[in-house]
Amino acid sequence: MSSSAVDAPGQPEVRITTGSGSINVIAEARADVVAEGRVDVQRAADGAVEVVPQKGSRSMTVRCPEGSSVTVGTRSGSLQLEGRFGAVRATTLSGSIAVDTAQSVDARAMSGKITIGACSGACRLKTKSGSIRLKSAGSAEVHIGSGSVNLDHVEGSVVARAVSGSVTVDAGAAGPVLVETMSGSITVTLPPNCRPNVRAKSMSSRPRVECESGDDCDVKVRTMSGGISVRCR
């Protein structure tokens, strides 16, 4: 299989787009950006490395240095980013998005699940239908139209909105935490002995708040239809 490459030592900015087709990006110990198949890899005027298919649309695999900041987009297809990245921006109209490790993530899917491993900074995720799973992040801002949201651990601020679907958040002590659903249950878990200032409102049932009240962090949870639970680990 043919491949093309551009020298890119350090932590380059890499932009990858295809009309349709899945994109697999692998960050590894290397000093260039390589793409397999009939793909052009070139330097853009702003210094970023651009990867585009030679004709129309196709799936592709791109290898880049660890720590690369990657902007990746496809109209139809999944996006998978393996390894350790800098800033990640990913968009797909139809397909899933998966990112192993990044400094920051902005991932937007119209239809498809989003799975993020570790994001040390800000993590912004949006999908119209599917599910969102975030293992750890510095802060999180997520929105889902239909489907479940699981934020396994977010150290800082959390904003999560779901039109239809449950939201589960394990938050740090700093907060603030804002979770709203139109239809779907909300579960917020805080660190042991955290004494949050909780404002909880459900139009369908009585919220369960099992933490001692205080001013350690602000927690605001609202749902039009669904249960609410706020507790400490």
């Binding site: 787009t17 109209r75 109209l93 902005d106 937007r108 929105h143 909105r161 039009m224 239809s225």
Partner: protein
């Protein structure tokens, strides 16, 4: 048959300016849970706040179900007005039972006028940009941003590139940016 002046778009019917689309996320679900009367209240709240924030020369082109199509003759005013609009939506959402989770897409171009309506490729782009935005977000194209020449307009505003984004029906990727307040109004 020769082409007559009536077959072509007259120069005076091509406008230069910003087209915005708004969309209320979850409107269908809201209506199902809360009923038609509350849905009407939600739409009325959106329209009231939009009309309050529109600068001189801007207008609501048309209603599109739970969304609106807006026209702005000035890019800076469009940017600042849509951010102000999101501030208003946020305040309304937090102080009432009306979840105005509105997303906004904004693009600069040269749409053609068809009566009171606007049509054309640039309108289509704007309508796709709003699909990329999340609730409470304003997402703009690089064409819009390049029109915002006064640097002081962008003071206090975070501009974050989302990258060249491939969108439905558009042959080429479009560079999009998320714009937001660098601070939250108190």
């Amino acid at each position: 048959m020769p082409v007559t002046s009536q077959d072509t778009v007259a120069v005076s019917d091509v406008l230069t300016g910003a087209v915005a689309f708004t969309d209320i996320c979850g409107f269908t679900e809201f209506t199902a849970v809360r009923g038609d009367a509350d849905a009407l209240q939600l739409l009325a709240a959106q329209e009231r706040l939009v009309r309050h924030c529109l600068p001189p020369g801007a207008r609501v082109v048309k209603e599109l179900g739970d969304g609106l199509m807006l026209w702005f003759p000035d890019a800076e005013a469009a940017l600042l007005s849509t951010l102000a609009l999101q501030d208003e939506f946020e305040v309304e959402s937090s102080t009432t039972e009306l979840p105005l989770w509105v997303r906004i897409g904004l693009h600069w171009g040269t749409p053609a006028r068809r009566g009171e309506d606007l049509i054309g490729h640039d309108v289509n782009i704007a309508s796709r940009v709003v699909d990329v935005a999340g609730p409470t977000e304003v997402v703009v194209t690089d064409q819009l941003l390049s029109q915002v020449s006064a640097l002081d307009v962008l003071v206090g505003i975070d501009v974050e590139e989302l990258g060249p984004v491939v969108m439905k029906g558009l042959p080429d990727p479009v560079r999009l940016f998320r714009v937001a307040r660098a601070w939250l109004p108190t």
